[in-house]
Amino acid sequence: MILRLEFLRLVRSRRPLMALLALLLFLALMLVGFWSYAQSRTHGAVQFEYTYENRSYFNGLTFALYAFFFGFVLLLPIFAAIEGGAQIAGDAGSGTLGLLLVRPISKTRLFFTKLAVAWGWSTLLTALFLGAALLLGLFAVGWGELRLYPGVLQSSDRPQLLSRATALRRFLLAWPAASLALLAPLALSFWISTWTRSAVNAVGTAVALYLVAHVIVEVHFFEALKPWLFTSHTTAWRALFRETIDWREIAGHEVALLGHAALFLALAFRRFRRREEA
């Protein structure tokens, strides 16, 4: 019943709709950017072909991958953090955490139910975003092979070519891998939200920490810190879009992410059990 209650509360809140609208708007912006970039590269012809001169190949699959990558880095962790913050700090602030705690339900069950709902929603949002990116790519750009060139999306130093069917299977694999990666910022947000009664504070702090950790990973100066930051591992799913998948590498990153998430959740759970509701 608690799972049903928490799910119903989530569905009835405005958060899912706001998140979906924001992601759709982001996709629309990506499409405009994608189109204008292709236009500039092909001198107005907008030919979605790779040439030696433009070193680019655009089609629906590349659009979907670009859109998903940037959406994953910039938006999805924020929505995961919002959900994490709303679950404990938000409930505490509105008094509904106290309302639940004066019923015969253990804090353990309540904590993990809230986590399941928040992560379940983040996973669903990831799937919806990925699906929308693929559909928009199909209808607005048109599908073909997935060709990737060395750059932000592709950690390999040589071009990769995936058939449409293979690429779609890789997208399907990217969904759980990316969803698992969202567990880390979500868990961070959960932990912070056990220290406050304000969802805004919890979400703001979690997002700020995520962004700082993300920037540190991108800056060469902080090389020594990278192994300790979960943001070093969150985009490991990109390796799924190589011709040959290095499963060991991906598994290593996912285990590291799970370790970070487990640590944050253990700290959050410890704090939640001892927390008082004034």
């Binding site: 049903r4 209650l5 008094g95 106290g98 639940l100 705690l101 004066v102 019923r103 339900i105 008082e276």
Partner: protein
Amino acid sequence: MSGGAPVEVERLGKRFGSRVALADIDLTVAAGEIVGLVGPNGSGKSTLLRVLAGLLRPTSGRARLFGHDPFLARETVMRDARFAFAPPALFESLTAREHLVHLVGLHGRAARPPAAAIDGALARVGLAERADDRVRSFSFGMRQRLAVAQALLPPPRLVVLDEPTEGLDPAAVLELRAILSELRKQHGVAILLSSHLLIEIDSLVDRLLLLQEGRVLFAGSAATLRAGSERLVLGVDAVERGAAALLAHGFAATLRSDGTLEVANGTLTLAEAQTLLRAAGVALASFHVEQRSLEQLLRERLAAGRPA
């Protein structure tokens, strides 16, 4: 559930940093008893109720519900205890019916009352026609009613209500009193009510606990509080001479703002007053016995700030 009293509090203390929120609180609520917790805002009423709900951990002393520590055995005590805090916190996005169904559902399949009981509880607090409306559309009074309804299900052995009459119209206050009386008489439910307005609950409660700045100023029955509270009010033609004459014989008289003299009833009879005043050359123009309300008595206690 073990057989301890519904509420047992011994020398309970609670601090928030250096601020003392509660100090040396003793309280027992037996089955079938209604106890009123009274005090001004910030006196510690809500803190005490939150300690009882297991939401706050006492700094010193102990609290027990049905023999269990509510902070450590919260899940156990909440099978039989219902709490409603002020202001009522509710699931805004749910309808009133969904709200009750889901809260009651947290008690497990075995304890879950039938749907008719939920409809009955909503009807009892006057929300039958709004049962399928979202809580966020409710007025404060309606939210208070829903908070009361949720405290009735599943059938409890202890009900703790924080400021339950706040925001209710007079008819709803009467209905609330009827509900609580019925719970006590027919089901032997122990009830603890808090209010900053005694007038709202004084007709209901068996005992009172008056709090000020986290300390007990008075604990006992309303009758105890009323004892010796009657005043003899004397209208005389020379108040200063009259007061001096009474004082000379050991009767302290207070000059009231309306120019009359007030003496504690029982210490001085009317005949004695007439004799003493006549001997001092003071004419007695009027007299009556004044019974002060509990509210006045408690206000006096609060003003004096002296522990009882």
